[in-house]
Amino acid sequence: MHKLIFALLFVFTLSAYAKDSVIEIGLASNFSEISSSSSNPYGNYFREGIKLAIEHKKDELARKNIKIKLKEFDYGTSQLKVVSVAKEACKSQVSLVLGYVYSSHALLAAPIHQKCKLPLFSPSATANRLSNFDSYIHLGAFSNQLQGEVLADIAIKELKAKKALAIYAADCAYCTDLTKTFKTAFEKEKSTTISEIPTLSTDQNFKEIAKKAKKIKADIILVPNHELFSARIISALVEEGIKVPFLGGDGWGNHGEQFLKVLQNKKIEGFSLSHWFSEIPTKENKTFVSQYKASFKKSPNDTAVLSYDSMSIIIEAILSLDDFSRAGIDNALNKVRSFSGVTGNFDYTTKGAPRKSIVLLKAGKSQYKFLKIINPKASK
């Protein structure tokens, strides 16, 4: 009898200790506005990737009695709103914020998060400066540094370009950052030159730019802007009779349907970099694509897959935690050295952005075509 009572007491005590830990994670995105690249309308792809990751890890989380609660912070497309959202997140009860999908958003939010010691995880921002933050800033995508180097390499080695032209939106942090790194890498090679034509993201008419570009007579033209804006510029250049290859970064997206629609079947030679391609024949990718389609009745895009991988990294870090405070979560994330995700292997051995494989795409008739995966050099 005594033994029975003792056993019951033990079980009840254990269950008290085994109470669920609720971790509130903030999701910061442009939920109320369609993005310029149409890659993340109303934040849906971003939200869906995260939910799918939580769904896939729910058993592991349940074993550890961890419940994840999501809280959305919406900043639309206003950069000023990003600042106020970051401050709001700092004051809230969230332990971590996953979001700030654009480089400019992450750059604006990062100092605020660092100041209030709230971990920030950006799934898709690639700005180089983000890697300079010592703590509380975590990235899930490769950097513009890597992109610039790869693009310069393609331009010089594969396209044999000596003279390059960059047409970029000067009020876009991602665009200027990528241009700068491309320029640095391109000009490293001897006898190569690069011209620049800055524009503004509010510009609608590119005829004058096209005329200027034609006069420059570059071998390749770098258009390192977001998907639809890049497509409009290229369309104007093609109408002006420019037929050189065009290069772009991950801002062109992974699918190309909208991009090519703007071009209205104009034939171009275009190369872009991406985080992922839906038809990459890996097991993880096939599983992810089929499960995403089954859950959300549509195909995923790079925003969805990056947020899926980022949430997976976060969950992995949480599963190793005893301390669920902001500092505890930040420490856990800092300890992640590598991760194998749908978008490839994440190498966190160096500070800042992970070293990851890059997908090279080519513009086809109605969508991009997969060319190859470029693996970064291993870190020392």
Binding site: Q79, L80, D171, D177, P198
Partner: protein, 463 residues
């Protein structure tokens, strides 16, 4: 010019039209000068509003470029785009007071948006801080020229608006004035007045009774008073007509007695004794009837005669004494008692003595006749004279029958309640009083129980 216009200004309507036209011309001239004076301030206000409206959008567009070093390269391009807007003359980014354009050196850099003018005061600028939270990156200056704010088109438009307003106002004023001053009685009032007229005429079969909806009782009072006056006048005129034949009949009657006595005397011419007796009879009849005849003729003539005064400053008490003596001499009564109650021995009043004697004589005669009608053996009249400030009141009180009915009606012609008299004495008295500008009122005498007539006259100059 105004004197030349005066002969042609025959009606109020014409006067108003001319005044309105003159005022409008003066106002238009005033407006032209005002336009040039105020046009600049109006333009400034409009430009101020335009600048205020636009600056927030411009700052919002340029602000993100300041937030990240990666985006600051866009600032010159954004400024160049703003400068390309030909609506504005100046667009500048200001980071310190030294960056202010020379012409805008007096502008102030503050935490709030503010306006300032250039040194020549022909450009207006707005200076807005570019800031987020507590961090200020600089200022955006937008300026616009204030010149070219006048235009012939603007002036004509302004003048046309003012003229339109003036004529609309004048039209309303004129219409209101016409309505107020017109003597036209509205239709409903016309119906009412016709209704009353028919009642006065004793018509019992009035079919259309008025449905009065108009509430302006001044018009109603005016219309009814006029109607009654016309009615009374027409009645009196009818009465005068009647009495004209009556008066002639009386004269004829008086003459007939004399004529008959004369014929009798003529018949007895061959009989000296008879002739003598008939002559004595003729004398008696003539002596008896002539005064009556004279009175009839005189009264009738007086009623129709226009009274022309020759006023002099004379002692009114002396005039009253004369009246009393004249009345006693012409009275049929045996020594009537006439008491005169007066404060002073002498009081100079501007009056026409002979007409005033006639006035007082008529009042005394009226008083005598009233007591004669009553059958009183002794007749008494009190004349009371009193000074009330600047006025003198003279009261004639009798012990007769008194006045029955409306006191004011006793002054109407041919109104009498006496056994003798035509009813023109008081009417004549009223005419003399009116000519002098005095007042004659009727009432009752508490002391003597009969009538009381009071003449009120000013102690000052008549004319």
């Amino acid at each position: 010019m105004i004197k030349k216009l005066q002969p042609s200004l025959k009606s109020t309507v014409t006067k108003i039209s001319v005044i309105t036209a003159l005022c409008s011309a003066m106002i238009v001239i005033g407006c032209v000068f005002s336009y040039y004076y105020f046009a600049k301030s109006i333009a400034q206000r409009n430009i101020q509003a335009e600048l205020q409206k636009n600056i927030n959008a411009h700052v919002e567009n340029i602000l993100p470029s300041f937030l990240l070093p990666e985006q600051q390269g866009a600032i010159p391009k954004q400024l160049e785009m703003l400068k390309g807007n030909k609506k504005y003359s100046e667009f500048s980014l200001i980071f310190s007071k030294d960056d202010l354009p020379k012409v805008f050196k007096n502008c102030v850099l503050s935490t709030d948006t503010n306006f300032c003018k250039n040194l020549e005061e022909d450009e207006l600028a707005i200076l807005a801080p570019i800031q987020v939270g507590g961090e200020r990156f600089g200022y955006l200056l937008e300026a616009k020229s204030l010149s070219g704010t006048y235009s012939l088109g603007g002036l004509l438009y302004f003048a046309a608006l003012i003229l339109l307003g003036i004529f609309a106002f004048a039209f309303i004023l004129f219409s209101a004035f016409r309505k107020i001053t017109t003597k036209t009685v509205p239709r409903d009032l016309s119906n009412l007045l016709n209704y009353i007229k028919e009642l006065l005429e004793g018509k019992t079969t009035i079919v259309e009774k008025p449905n009065l909806t108009f509430s302006d009782f001044s018009f109603l009072q005016l219309g009814i008073t006029k109607l009654f006056n016309n009615y009374k006048k027409s009645q009196n005129e009818a009465v005068v007509g009647y009495f004209a034949s009556g008066v002639l009949h009386d004269i004829k009657t008086q003459f007939q007695s004399i004529v008959a006595a004369s014929e009798l005397a003529e018949e007895a011419k061959h009989d000296p004794e008879k002739y003598q007796k008939r002559l004595e009879n003729l004398h008696r009849v003539t002596e008896r009837n002539l005064p009556t005849l004279q009175a009839i003729i005189k009264s009738t003539l007086d009623a129709n005669k226009e009274i022309v005064l020759s006023p002099q400053f004379e002692d009114i008490f002396e005039t009253i004494e004369n009246s009393v003596n004249y009345a006693r001499a012409n009275s049929d009564l045996n020594n009537p008692i006439i008491d005169i109650e007066k404060p002073n021995d002498k009081l100079l009043i501007s009056h026409d003595r002979s007409q005033t004697i006639r006035l007082f004589f008529n009042l005394l005669k009226n008083a005598f006749e009233a007591q004669d009608s009553k059958g009183e053996a002794t007749q008494k009249v009190i004349i009371n004279i009193k000074e009330y400030g600047q006025a003198l009141k003279i009261r004639f009180e009798d012990a007769g029958l008194g006045i029955k009915g409306n006191f004011d009606e006793v002054f109407d012609p041919f109104i009498t309640n006496k056994k003798s008299g035509i009813g023109l004495g008081l009417y004549n008295a009223q005419q003399i009083v009116n000519a002098h500008g005095w007042r004659l009122t009727a009432g009752s005498s508490k002391r003597l129980g009969g009538a009381c007539f009071e003449v009120t006259m000013p102690k000052g100059e008549l004319f």
